[in-house]
């Protein structure tokens, strides 16, 4: 099994066009057998056997700061050498999807799921926004299989993070007078550490450019994958604790947590063909759009919509969609992107 990753780089390009062949399964295996995903699995297992393994909160926190700043910086450095004409299309598509996907998600939850307004809006905020870790895993998978996405992708993460949360909260607030505070929530999301680090990193990266980035590059580049591995170890532990709530959330939400990402991902790839994105870029954007936020959105929703049930949105984002995306979803988006754009 260990030889699978070996020639994946070559085969990935060649064979993804022929779905369901042995080789496509190997590409999938290449994802499932990457150290980063296996660390996630180890975290899940550790939690299931009730191990005392647990990253200290301070370390976990520190790793998230490191990862967010690193992707911001690298994105900014790339942005500094990207012509606006190349970036404009993808940026506008991302903004569009950030405005549309929460509306889709809300309506699916209300109409098909017969869920109440507040919980529908709360969940929609999560599925419209983006999970930075899913994004990183998607980038990693591309690099691993020899398909480098555009360097400016992190800038798209920053663009995608906020609008969906605003849209979803607006839907909720338009309908009733709310208990929560709209301004507090907006402040929470705009000044939240993920936005500050991503946007701050982008600005710093753009200002210093490739030359200026050099002295700090070893820290932010060569350590990145390993830090991500430790982070996913803890994510596995946390996600496993969410799995215990699966019964509570019901079948509809489980299906929602798998099918809506596929829907959002497919839509993204289809629209990506009009923006000049590469295959890998489209696949990564699809992974982003299909992912559900579990840092920025929960904080904002908890403040603005306190009566929404956190079990629903956290279990969906973290217990269902995140594991689905990092194991099966991302290879699927690459496959679809190859198929539609390739």
């Amino acid at each position: 099994m260990k030889r699978i990753a070996y020639d994946v780089r070559f085969r990935a390009v060649l064979y993804t066009r022929y779905p369901f062949t042995m080789d496509n399964l190997e590409v999938l295996a290449a994802n499932l057998l990457s150290p980063v995903i296996l660390a996630f699995v180890l975290g899940v297992v550790a939690s299931l056997v009730r191990s005392d393994l647990k990253l200290p909160a301070a370390l976990y926190n520190g790793l998230s700061i490191y990862l967010l700043l690193a992707i911001g910086l690298k994105g900014g450095v790339e942005l500094s050498r990207t012509p606006l004409s190349v970036f404009a299309g993808p940026a506008m598509l991302t903004l569009l999807l950030g405005l549309l996907t929460p509306v889709f998600a809300y309506n699916i939850l209300r109409r098909l799921g017969r869920m109440d307004r507040v919980n529908s809006a709360a969940i929609a905020a999560h599925y419209g926004s983006v999970s930075a870790v899913t994004f990183i895993v998607a980038i990693t998978f591309g690099t691993m299989t020899g398909r480098e996405p555009e360097g400016f992708m992190p800038a798209l993460v920053a663009i995608l993070e906020v609008p969906a949360i605003v849209v979803a909260l607006m839907i909720a607030f338009m309908r009733d007078r709310r208990a929560g505070s709209w301004q507090d929530a907006l402040h929470e999301v705009l000044s939240g550490r993920s936005v500050v680090l991503l946007v701050g990193g982008l600005l710093i990266g753009t200002l210093v450019g490739p030359k200026g980035f050099e002295p700090v590059a070893p820290f932010f580049k060569s350590g990145f994958q390993g830090a991500l591995m430790l982070f996913l170890l803890e994510m596995g532990i946390v996600a496993a604790s969410r799995l215990r709530d699966l019964r509570e959330v019901g079948f509809f939400l489980i299906a929602f947590g798998i099918l809506v990402p596929i829907l959002h991902g497919t839509l993204t790839i289809w629209l990506a063909q009009f923006t000049g994105l590469t295959v890998a870029g489209a696949a990564v954007l699809a992974a982003m759009v299909s992912s559900a936020s579990y840092i920025a959105a929960p904080a904002a929703v908890r403040i603005a919509l306190p009566e929404a049930n956190p079990t629903f949105y956290l279990t969906g984002a973290l217990g269902i969609t995140f594991p689905f995306n990092v194991t099966l979803g991302i290879p699927l988006y690459y496959f679809l992107a190859e198929w539609i754009l390739g």
Partner: protein
């Protein structure tokens, strides 16, 4: 009980989600508390998960205040947060040295 003035005050303890911390502290001072002590905590109560799991653990707020201020704090917290948030509030007696500072 000692050479120094000891004033009987109320120790109000609030354990709640981290996300409410800032708002609660501002309110505490508004209602007349002269200070507070914070500790990180985790816990289990009647509610299940909360967003604060991602915001770090719970927060435990302790404030030494006069009887009246204690009452105001209790009422405010109960009105504003009991319905939707994980929060517990209790009041104890405490003999505070140099306690006039905190009234």
């Amino acid at each position: 009980m000692s050479r120094h003035s000891v004033v009987p005050l109320k120790l109000v303890t609030i354990v709640t989600e981290r996300i409410l911390e800032d708002r609660l502290l501002r309110t505490l001072l508004d209602l007349g508390a002269k200070g507070y002590t914070l500790t990180q905590a985790t816990g289990k109560g009647s509610r299940g998960v909360r967003a604060s799991e991602w915001e770090g653990p719970d927060t435990k707020i302790e404030a030494l205040v006069s009887h009246d201020v204690a009452e105001k704090i209790v009422d405010h917290v109960a009105d504003a947060f009991f319905e939707h948030y994980a929060v517990i509030v209790y009041v104890q007696d405490a003999a505070v040295v140099r306690g006039e500072k905190y009234i």
